[in-house]
């Protein structure tokens, strides 16, 4: 049996600082959801196959179900709750998801938004093939892919236009 030793860690999530104690085997996903009550990030497979638990660690998209919380000491985590502005205004990608109906049940949506946000940040003018490749790790059972593709295309256009 795994000894339940606890590790004290400090991390920032969406700009807020937290000091918590986590057992060795606690995943970042479980810390976010059950420890910090940030339930926007979803648990779908808990073994890295579906992308639903995608968050950013120091800006890099990671699968939080395969990341140990104890390994996140001193890091900055961004979740879906951190995408909107402090005044609650939605990001261009969030708004595009709404406008192009890129969601149905919405359970994969937080992960899709995180992947799309990272994609457009690193590649502001992606081709359709680049969008498909960049988002292929986020499964959607309802089949909202058509809307997701259109939303990412539109968000890219919008962000390019407003950047000028």
């Amino acid at each position: 049996m795994i000894p339940p030793e606890k590790h004290p860690i400090s991390l920032s999530v969406n700009g807020k600082s937290y000091n918590v104690e986590v057992p060795s085997r606690r995943t970042l996903l479980d810390l976010l959801r059950d420890g910090l009550y940030l339930t926007g990030t979803k648990k779908v497979c808990d073994m890295g196959h579906c992308g639903a638990c995608t968050v950013f660690r120091d800006g890099t998209p990671i699968l939080s179900c395969l990341t140990l919380a104890a390994g996140c000491d001193g890091t900055e985590i961004t979740t879906v709750e951190g995408l909107a502005g402090p005044d609650g205004s939605l990001s261009a990608i969030q708004q595009a998801f709404i406008d192009f109906d890129a969601l149905q049940c919405g359970f994969c949506t937080p992960g899709q938004l995180m992947s799309a946000t990272a994609l457009l940040r690193d590649n502001p003018d992606p081709s359709d093939d680049e969008i498909k490749a960049g988002m292929a790790g986020n499964l959607c059972r309802c089949g909202a892919y058509q809307g997701i593709l259109e939303a990412v295309r539109q968000a890219a256009r919008h962000m390019q236009a407003t950047a000028k």
């Binding site: 808990d46 049940c105 919405g106 892919y145 058509q146």
Partner: protein, 781 residues
């Protein structure tokens, strides 16, 4: 004056009778061609913001003070008897608060009295043996490892063909084959198929197989239960809050008035969450034992093993036709895998009975039990499977007759329902064919390309194929709604339904806003709580919109009438001079003197305008949905890969309330149909009965990279007979013909017919080799 009448309701191929209490008359139908301000125009989902910000709380997200977490110990054997169990070590583990087994759990009947909540006989790998509630999930799982169980193995059967043979070991007290009317299977017959085959100039036959498909809802099944005194609240990821309430109250033997079920947001169901599984009852018992709320969510492995599935089929089909193309006989005999406790089989014979004009039809569907997880309804159960078989063989028939598939279907069009004396309330199938051809860039009079004529690209061969569909979609009573007008003029529509991701919430809000005469933004739509809402039906069978939209419209009409009477009093004008539009009460035909709704409502203080509505009886006509899909595929004859490049989908689902939401249903249905046709199958270890691909890595649902070009359209003509809103259900029609269209396109591309789904590269290569071998054998003769 209150009247009570009986009406027929058809859901998923089965018809039953409902009793309706009529107090007021329903509004007259919205006529076809009526000008609308809100209905018929695309609207963003009114709950989209919550979903894109992560603030929507699904059952998985529910947390309560003192929450305990439960984990389930499950049978590792496909058929066994528990001979001994010891939970002492597990109970001593720090953090464990309660353990339930057959030894201490209430004896609650399950699976129609054949088993119990915890039974000593287990009939599939994964069946519940014990459950532990602990301070956290890791501790609960650690405790499971400390529970000692001794099993006596019993003979098991995993293959449904073997299970259906006489003399097979019986794995269920009622036998391995489902019975109805005292015989094996469900038989339907009209006319005389033997005579029909004698009249035929051409006869085609084939055996078609489909695999077990897993719903793979991203949010797993699960519950949270909490007691407040003797009142129980359950949060459940479900398609049927009132169904869960009924089942839990019955299981615990407590009155309905003490059970509340909540589900405002849920992460997919596709049919698997229509029935109530054991979780809510288990959580309620553990919560009562510990005095703390208890949460039990299935893991991904559990979800993909035991929460339901689309049963596998083996369909033997025979079709006869005259040389002018007119059908003379259709015969379907099918096995349907229902798993260890299945009590019904999908209506595989449905398409054969309904899709084409044919006087001689016989269908026999045998549900077969095996020691595997039981099936459950999965988006158009039976019809997806049966459409693949029937439409593939029809395609073969067209080939032998030298007839274009669209022409053949038009020739065998059924203007009236052949299974009853009824006419159809509406049927725009003929237009669906024409429109689908147009979407593919062809003239509506065009014929599909001949076999092998589309441009090949090296190893990749292209082809086009089509299939058509029918399904229910009429819904029916009971359904209720309330429209409440607050003193600031804002509106709340209150129902007892759930939105499983289909966007019904938004469409119904549009109906309310339209009927009332207020902007959509001023309407809040309440659902998902049995305590706050009046009865709403399950979200299955494509029944939500046709059942609930009329109730919502009626409640809105009632509220509107009251508002205008109040306005009439304060504006000192007859009510019939007044109208409510865009949130303003105005004099009909005049712009001056209009007053915002708020200012009228403020005049009456705290009095609350409450409109009531309900779903009235069904019409005498049969309400059905119709459609056609044309697929274009590429097949690599060296690797066996099949790609769906382009697909046109046209469906007649009556009046369209929200085009954007409807198109999403079409896209989603096509993608699930594509998965069923090309990549999805449950794989079971045939020795020990374990599901080998219960994860998302090895059970292949489509990814965004697999998305084909999808050209979708709804016919959009209102069905004014179906109900006064004119809309039919739309959730299931789009999944039904996709796999069949793909299979027919594969034949068109390669000359090789596929008889077994999904068409994985391995199956495609096997089919190509078998075809080549038989062509060689024939040319030698």
């Amino acid at each position: 004056m209150t009247r009570i009448i009986k009406t027929k309701v058809e859901i998923e191929g089965r018809t039953h009778e409902e009793t309706v209490v009529i107090e007021e008359e329903e509004p007259s139908p919205w006529e076809e061609g009526r000008a609308f301000s809100i209905v018929g125009k695309s609207a963003n989902r009114i709950d989209a913001r919550e979903r894109v910000t992560g603030s929507a709380h699904y059952t998985y997200d529910v947390t309560l003070p003192g929450l305990l977490h439960a984990a389930v110990l499950r049978s590792p054997h496909p058929h066994a008897r528990i001979s001994a169990m010891d939970t002492t070590k597990a109970a001593k583990l720090h953090g464990v608060r309660a353990i339930l087994t057959h030894e201490n759990a209430a004896s609650i009947g399950w699976y129609s009295g054949v088993s119990k909540l915890f039974d000593t006989t287990v009939r599939f790998v994964g069946e519940e043996v014990a459950v532990v509630a602990a301070d956290d999930l890791d501790t609960a799982n650690d405790a499971l490892a400390l529970i000692e169980v001794k099993y006596e193995l019993l003979p098991s059967i995993l293959d449904m063909v073997e299970a259906s043979k006489p003399g097979a070991p019986e794995i269920h007290p009622r036998g391995n084959v489902l019975k109805s009317d005292g015989r094996d299977g469900e038989l339907y017959s009209r006319g005389d198929v033997q005579a029909g085959f004698k009249q035929a100039d051409v006869i085609v036959e084939g055996t078609f197989k489909t695999s077990t498909q897993l719903h793979t809802s991203l949010e797993t099944h699960g519950s949270v239960a909490a007691w407040e005194g003797d009142e129980l609240t359950i949060w459940e990821s479900t398609q049927y809050i009132f169904g869960v309430r009924d089942r839990v109250a019955q299981a615990l033997d407590i009155p309905l008035s003490r059970v509340r079920v909540i589900c405002e947001y849920m992460g997919g169901g596709f049919g698997s969450k229509g029935q109530t599984l054991k979780q809510p009852v288990i959580c309620a018992l553990l919560s009562r034992m510990t005095g703390r709320p208890v949460k039990l969510m299935l893991t991904r492995q559990e979800e993909n093993t035991l929460s339901g599935n689309r049963g596998a089929t083996i369909q033997k089909i025979k079709i006869g036709a005259r040389k002018d193309g007119k059908l003379t006989a259709i015969d379907v005999e099918a096995l349907y895998g229902v798993g260890a406790y299945g009590m019904w089989a999908g209506s595989v014979g449905g398409p054969a009975k309904e899709l084409y004009k044919c006087s001689n039809v016989r269908t026999l569907v045998l549900g077969v039990r095996t020691n595997l997880g039981s099936h459950s309804a999965f988006r158009a159960p039976g019809y997806v499977e049966g459409t693949f078989g029937l439409e593939s063989l029809i395609d073969d028939l067209c080939d032998k007759l030298g007839m274009d598939p669209v022409d053949f279907r038009k020739k065998n069009h059924a203007p009236d329902d052949q299974t009853s004396d009824q006419q159809y309330s509406s049927k725009h199938l003929l237009e669906s064919y024409d429109r689908a051809l147009e979407l593919m860039g062809m003239d509506s009079k065009a014929e599909l390309p001949g076999k092998g004529t589309l441009t090949a690209n090296g190893q990749w061969k292209r082809g086009m194929g089509m299939a058509s569909q029918t399904w229910g979609g009429g819904g029916g009573p009971p359904a209720h709604a309330i429209v409440r007008v607050n003193s600031d003029g804002t509106i709340e529509v209150i129902t007892g339904i759930q939105d499983i991701g289909t966007g019904t919430r938004t469409a119904l809000a549009q109906v309310a806003a339209e009927e009332l005469g207020v902007p959509l933004e001023s309407v809040r739509f309440r659902l998902g709580d049995t305590q706050k809402g009046l009865f709403g039906p399950a979200s299955w069978g494509s029944i939500t919109t046709p059942s609930v939209a009329p109730a919502v419209r009626m409640a809105a009409a009632d509220a509107r009438k009251q508002i205008l009477e109040i306005a009439s009093y304060f504006m000192e004008l007859p009510a019939n001079y007044l109208t409510l539009q865009d949130g303003f009460v105005s004099i009909e035909g005049r712009k001056e003197g209009r007053r915002p709704l708020k200012s009228i409502i403020e005049e009456i203080g705290d009095y609350m305008v409450t409109g009531k509505g309900y779903r009235g009886p069904n019409p005498l006509e049969q309400v059905k949905t119709w459609g056609a899909q044309i697929a274009e595929v590429e097949v690599n004859i060296e690797t066996g890969q099949v790609r769906l490049i382009r697909i046109a989908a046209v469906h007649d689902v009556g009046r369209v309330i929200n085009p954007k939401g409807l198109h999403s249903q079409f896209y989603g249905g096509i993608l699930q149909g594509m998965g069923f046709g090309l990549t999805e199958e449950r794989v079971v270890d045939t020795q020990a009965g374990h599901v080998l691909n219960a994860g998302l890595d090895n059970y292949h649902i489509p990814t965004v990279a697999d998305t084909p070009e999808m050209l979708v359209a709804a016919i959009g003509k209102a069905d004014t007979l179906a109900n006064h809103v004119g809309a039919k259900g739309a959730g299931e029609p789009p999944i039904i013909p996709t796999a069949a269209a793909i299979a027919n396109a594969i034949y068109n591309a390669t000359g090789v017919r596929v008889y077994s789904l999904p068409v994985t590269p391995r199956r495609m290569l096997e089919a190509i080799r078998a075809h080549d071998a038989s062509v060689q054998a024939e040319s030698k003769n």
